[in-house]
Amino acid sequence: MINCILAGVGGQGTVLASKLIAQTAMNRGIKARTAETIGMAQRGGSVVSHVRLGKDVHSPLIPLKSADVIIGFEPAEAVRCLSYLKTKGTVIVSQKAIKPVTASLSDTDYDGNEMLEYLRSQVSSLITVDGERICAQCGSSKVLNTALLGAAISAHALGISLEEMERTIKEKLPSKLVAMNLQALYTGAQGTSKENLQ
């Protein structure tokens, strides 16, 4: 069984990413369940998707302390979901912070570094991804989700292969977006820095 949490900010494409993982697992004959945040939070709020792969899965929600992997689309969002992570679970996180409007208003100078530091201190297997650079390379800020999927798959965190994900992307995305997302997938798979791998 693999439990995966995707944590991000509304609009970053977490829902699509979770659907791509679930569909890829399905294509391989692995049972999948997901739960998404849809609604008000999609307008720039914190969003969390749960993806569960394998037999003997009942609940669509992953119980606390049971996630094998957290894919954080933003450092603070990864930290917010850390209580879901198993001991020795993996965290894949985009380094780029997204400042909440409320943090901009008050004098809390949130820049994500404190969150990344905290992740480094808590997570035994942490992979950071320079999502901003990959998105710039691929020419769109919208491909962060596939870039992070690439990183997660190359870390063997999801039990699926890049080639399988490539097939799902070709199957599920509008044809004009496929090339860009495949580039992000493979760049994400290469351009990660493994930290704390003990």
């Binding site: 609009g11 609604g39 008000m40 720039g44 669509p60 929600l61 606390l64």
Partner: protein
């Protein structure tokens, strides 16, 4: 063939397989995708109705005419549809009718977390509660058979975690959708007192039959394991119980009204300790207690918010090393004093509502609000909304405020309402404003779509759910037709004009309507736009632009900067900037 489907997709599929001919709904999270998906099947007519009451009326019309009908709405939508529901429960059906009530425990996207099983009991109609997508499809089909066999509308109650979670579903083909014979039958369908009295007798007799049915149906089943603990549960909570309580015996209720008293009594006798684990209200528990059975429920489990798997584990005393580790992790986070910044939802970059709320805040106006994306205008820094109650409440609320506090108060008071919400139930409030001689200023935020639920068309947008062009409701003409003589259309990005118009209309001692018209920014996503930038030399750091609450503008030391990947170039920030420091990228000062 098996397919990965959300609960909502599965319900649409179930309706199609059941031979449904008419699907109606008013969009509302977490129910919206049911009807969006139903519209994809060409064999079914599907519509966005003007509101949930109309949706149910169209559905029951289809049923009386002999077709099967699916009507979907969020929990609070059932409040709107309650009037036809309670009497349609008396008449019963011809073609089967299933009402989907999508409840939202935890209020992910709702204004309350009412438990609609109470509605079904009050209306005396059966309730089925699926626990995953396969059951969502199966129960939908079964609900249509129940509806026709027992001559009753059936409620299919789902919750957010069933609606918006995906699991595997075995697909089947569409069954025959031949219409039932239509015959005029006034005794059954004309609810004048004399006939309704007879129907009430039929309703009670039907309920007795349903009580027999619920004892025997496989919808309610026992999964025996260790008999030390017995758990009665249903809906998605069943899945949580299966996940965290491995050894307990479970009575799973797929039908939660009427309840199987005998089956429950029998189950209670065979277990040492009985629990009811249910989300929100003690609906099952109250019945069980009323039968004199000793049971634990809300004495242990919360009746507020979502009931999560970890809460069930904790309350049932399932302790493990994992759980201990969890507390350790929580402790260490507390020790490290690391608190991720809170991240509430915000109006999107380029949102046409932003300028309006900025002006309302600036003029310190009291704002009676409504339900939609614009409800986000209540959050800091805009903080522009005083009340939000339900769909369409803004105008009535403003009238009441004026009646209580007088004309002077009304000179500083507006109602704000979106286009779809105005059609849903705002127009009646507006008629009331005229008739009650109020001087209400109503601002219709016309963004050409139903935004919050994910961009559905409505009678003002010119397209149907199936994407066919249709004549739009002209809201300005409509306002005039009900007697509002002062109707102005403004662009909410023209802040100067907006402010002038607002002041004029607030001063007027008669009702007026301002239509703030501009397309939702998310509908303009494909438009190539040039982001704005801040000149660090010119920026004085006054932070005036920060009052817009735009997610693209971030503090950078003592000044601000604009995130170019998010900015859509709406220019609102440039308009409010005193020093001219904000310009479109590539243009220079002066």
């Amino acid at each position: 063939m098996k397919k990965l489907l959300t609960g909502n997709e599965a319900i649409a599929r179930g309706a199609w397989e059941a031979g449904v001919v008419v699907c109606t709904a008013y969009p509302g999270t977490p129910s919206t995708e049911i009807t969006e998906n139903a519209a994809k099947y060409k064999e079914m007519y599907a519509e966005w109705s003007a509101n949930e009451k109309v949706a149910l009326e169209v559905g029951l019309g289809a049923s009386i005419a002999g077709g099967r009908a699916l009507v979907a709405m969020k929990h609070v939508g059932v409040n709107v549809a309650a009037d036809p529901l309670f009497t349609f429960a008396y008449t019963g059906v011809n073609g089967g009718l299933v009402l989907v009530s999508a409840d939202d425990p935890g209020m992910h996207s709702s204004q309350n977390e009412q438990d609609n099983r109470h509605f079904a009991r009050a209306a005396k109609i059966p309730v089925l509660e699926p626990s995953d997508s396969q059951e969502a499809k199966d129960f939908t089909k079964l609900a249509f058979n129940l509806s026709e066999n027992f001559d009753t509308p059936v409620m299919l109650r789902i919750t957010t975690r069933v609606a918006h979670s995906q699991s595997l579903v075995e697909l089947a083909e569409r069954q025959d959708s031949e219409l039932k014979k239509y015959e005029k039958n006034a005794l059954k369908f004309v609810m004048i007192p004399a006939y309704a009295r007879r129907r009430h007798v039929a309703v009670e007799a039907r309920l007795d039959k349903l009580r027999e049915y619920t004892e025997a149906t496989p919808l309610n089943r026992i999964e025996w394991k260790d008999t030390k603990i017995g758990v009665i549960t249903g809906g998605v909570t069943y899945q949580y119980v299966k996940e965290v309580l491995k050894d307990v015996s479970i009575l799973k209720l797929g039908m939660s009204f009427p309840l199987p008293q005998k089956l429950i009594t029998e189950f209670s006798r065979k277990v040492d300790k009985l629990y009811v684990i249910e989300e929100l209200e003690p609906f099952i528990e109250d019945y069980v207690k009323s039968w004199g059975i000793e049971v634990h429920g809300k004495d242990i489990f919360p009746g507020i918010g979502e009931l999560l798997p970890e809460t069930i584990a904790e309350k049932m005393g399932v302790s493990s090393s994992e759980k201990k580790a969890l507390f350790k992790a929580a402790e260490s986070a507390a020790l490290a004093n690391v608190e991720p910044p809170i991240r509430p939802p915000v109006l999107c970059p380029g949102c046409p509502h932003r300028g309006l709320f900025y002006v309302l805040k600036k003029l310190k106006i009291t704002v009676a609000g409504d339900i939609g994306c614009y409800t986000l205008g209540s959050l800091a820094p805009l903080s522009a909304i005083d009340t939000t109650i339900c769909m369409g409440a803004s105008i009535g609320t403003a009238i009441g405020m004026e009646k209580a506090r007088g004309k002077d108060f009304a000179r500083n008071l507006v109602a704000v309402i979106g286009d779809s919400t105005f059609i849903h139930s705002g127009i009646t409030g507006l008629i009331n404003a005229v008739y009650s001689k109020a001087s209400t200023t109503t601002i219709i935020l016309d963004n050409r779509t139903t935004g919050m639920t994910g961009h559905q068309d409505n009678p003002t947008t010119g397209l149907t759910l199936k994407g066919e062009p249709i004549k739009e409701v002209d809201m300005a003409l409509l306002a005039k037709a009900v007697g509002v003589e002062r109707v102005v259309i403004v662009d909410p990005f023209d802040l100067e004009k907006l402010e002038t118009v607002l002041k004029e209309e607030l001063a007027a001692e008669e009702p007026s309507v301002i239509i703030a018209k501009r397309k939702c920014a998310l509908l303009e996503k494909d438009k190539v736009s040039t982001p704005h930038t801040v000149s660090a030399e010119t920026c004085t750091g006054c932070m005036r632009c920060m009052r817009l609450g735009c997610p693209c503008i971030v503090k950078d030391g003592k000044k601000v900067r604009i995130n170019p990947t998010q900015c859509v170039g709406c220019g609102l920030c440039a308009d409010v900037c005193f020093s001219g420091a904000i310009q479109k990228e590539g243009t220079s000062n002066g």
